[in-house]
């Protein structure tokens, strides 16, 4: 069963700036009141890389990572489901999902993944 994307962004009630991750004061107007916002729709790939020297906790050859912007303008980092970085280009559409991103203490840790749609 497809899992709901479990990140929450925060829209400033005064100026409308969307924040992810959470800040106690708005990055633009310093207001302290926010409206919770869930990611909507597909996303656009803003930046990406493939890393070959992985940190402790990742037992694999490489990892493709990127930052994408959802249709309601939430921007977030995620792992990219692609066989090769050559499949990617900045600005392409990607489909988000909520899947295991690593294992810690024997348990799956869930997070964002993006799959190229083009």
């Amino acid at each position: 069963m497809k899992k709901e994307i479990a990140i929450t962004a925060y829209k400033c009630k005064k100026c409308g700036k969307i924040h992810y991750p959470f800040h106690d004061r708005c990055l633009v107007c310093k207001n302290r009141e926010f409206e919770p916002l869930k990611p909507e729709g597909d996303a656009k790939l803003l930046a990406y890389t493939a890393i070959f020297n992985l940190p402790w906790g990742f037992d694999q050859r490489y990892l493709i990572l990127g930052i994408a912007e959802f249709e309601n303008h939430i921007k977030a980092m995620g792992q990219i489901k692609a066989d090769s970085i050559d499949q990617l280009k900045t600005g392409m559409k990607v489909r988000p999902s909520w899947e295991p991103i690593r294992v810690q203490y024997g348990e799956d840790v869930y997070g964002l993944k993006f799959e190229p749609m083009e």
Binding site: L46, I51, N53
Partner: protein
């Protein structure tokens, strides 16, 4: 506020130092700086120790307290300063403000890190802990990974090429062969890492589009400075008045400093290619020193990745945006060029023991401004130097403008 000068500087060779503990390295660098000053058996008023990873890598805390005991500097005040890879410059700034305020006279600042006693896997993870604990770290992002994303965006926006990145890498590793303190004393062969087919093997992609030789090494090392009020520095140098130290070397004034922060995550910056904290830190340092980028004779910029030397050279005002890479290829950042950058070899070749780096940059500029280096690395008649120490991925940056004091 009093003017503050650097009167002592010391460093130990960076690299893999299996025989030394973190405390050994901090002590060796400190003694070199203290001896450089000629303080004899006198103490200092305060000690600031820059270290990022001791708690995680060595399972050690209260490092500054340990160091004053090791060096018999009690009852000097002592604190450990942790500010990621900008810890070194933060400790220098803390010492500067303590002396400028009039509260302390002689302050020892030392930065050190021992990163090679764990695997690269573990060291990469320790450095990655400076990323956002929920929005970034769990995904496996590393600092080279952040730099990879930044590099692609910079290439797309400003037309930076691999050839331009290579120019930085070749220059800094060549300078490393001339620096006895450098971790990597090995010149690179352009053909073998770029032109020939085997370059794919010799210089593999590490964090696309960055390759192995675009990245600094993981290093052990330490560096230290001793600072005091400028007036006392002059007295010591000239010997006209009674002073606590017997240094006969040229003092170096900390003429300006700046520090600025930015969002922790790249995605929350309006333009992720804009290193605002670098620009602001440098601007503040120049304003305080009453100098301009064109007045700088030599610079040590935080080239943990080759793209950063190019981007920082633009953000501090040496070159317009999009011109830094071309300047590197044209030799404008080499010794004898328009603005020599990283004649120490930079982080790329001198190495990057994270807590030590910001102090080591200051030490290298002090040696330049005292005109103490061999002519293969010395900028002739250098009077003004700049350092930029880049924390996180540009979310905490410090810059210093240093000035030779003519007596």
């Amino acid at each position: 506020m009093r003017d503050v000068a650097i009167i002592g500087a010391g460093m130990i060779p960076f690299g893999r130092r299996d025989e030394d503990t973190l405390m050994d390295m901090l002590a060796y660098a400190s003694m070199k700086a203290l001896d450089d000053v000629g303080l004899g058996d006198k103490s200092v008023d305060a000690v600031y120790v820059a270290n990022m990873g001791g708690g995680m890598l060595q399972h050690q805390s209260a490092i500054a307290s340990s160091l004053v005991d090791r060096l018999s500097l009690m009852p000097a005040a002592a604190e450990t300063i942790e500010n990621g890879p900008a810890s070194g410059a933060s400790a220098v700034k803390t010492g500067l403000l303590a002396v400028a305020s009039g509260y302390y006279n002689y302050v020892l600042v030392v930065g050190g890190e021992k990163m090679r006693e764990v695997t690269g896997w573990r060291a990469t993870d320790v450095v990655a802990t400076m990323t956002h604990p929920q929005a970034e770290y769990p995904y496996g992002i590393t600092l080279p990974g952040m730099a990879g994303m930044f590099t692609r965006l910079y290439m797309e926006k400003y037309g930076v090429t691999r050839e331009q990145l290579l120019a930085v890498s070749l220059k800094n590793q060549e300078m490393g062969t001339l620096n006895p303190y450098a971790h990597v004393e090995m010149a690179l062969d352009r053909a073998g890492i770029f032109d020939l087919p085997e370059a794919v093997v010799n210089n593999p992609v590490s964090a696309d589009p960055l390759h192995l030789y675009d990245l600094c090494p993981v290093s052990d090392g330490a560096a230290a400075v001793v600072i005091c009020p400028l007036e006392m520095a002059k007295a010591g140098k000239g010997g006209q008045k009674s002073s606590e130290h017997a240094n006969s070397k040229t003092p170096v004034l900390i003429a300006g400093f700046g520090q600025a922060t930015d969002t922790q995550t790249l995605q929350e910056r309006d333009d992720p290619t804009d290193l605002k904290a670098v620009t602001l830190a440098a601007q503040h340092a120049f304003e305080m020193a009453k100098l301009k980028p064109a007045d700088i004779d030599v610079a040590e910029l935080h080239d943990a990745f080759t793209i950063l030397e190019i981007a920082e050279s633009e953000h501090v005002g040496f070159f317009k945006k999009g011109e830094g890479g071309k300047a590197a290829v044209a030799g404008k950042t080499r010794l004898g060029g328009q603005i020599p950058i990283n004649l120490s070899g930079g982080l790329k070749a001198r190495g990057h023991p994270v807590g030590a780096t910001g102090v080591a940059q200051v030490v290298d500029i002090v040696w330049q401004l005292r005109h103490e280096l061999p002519k293969t690395r010395q900028v002739q008649k250098a009077r003004h130097g700049l350092t930029v120490n880049f924390g996180g991925f540009g979310n905490n940056v410090l810059a210093f403008v240093l000035k030779r004091v003519e007596l």
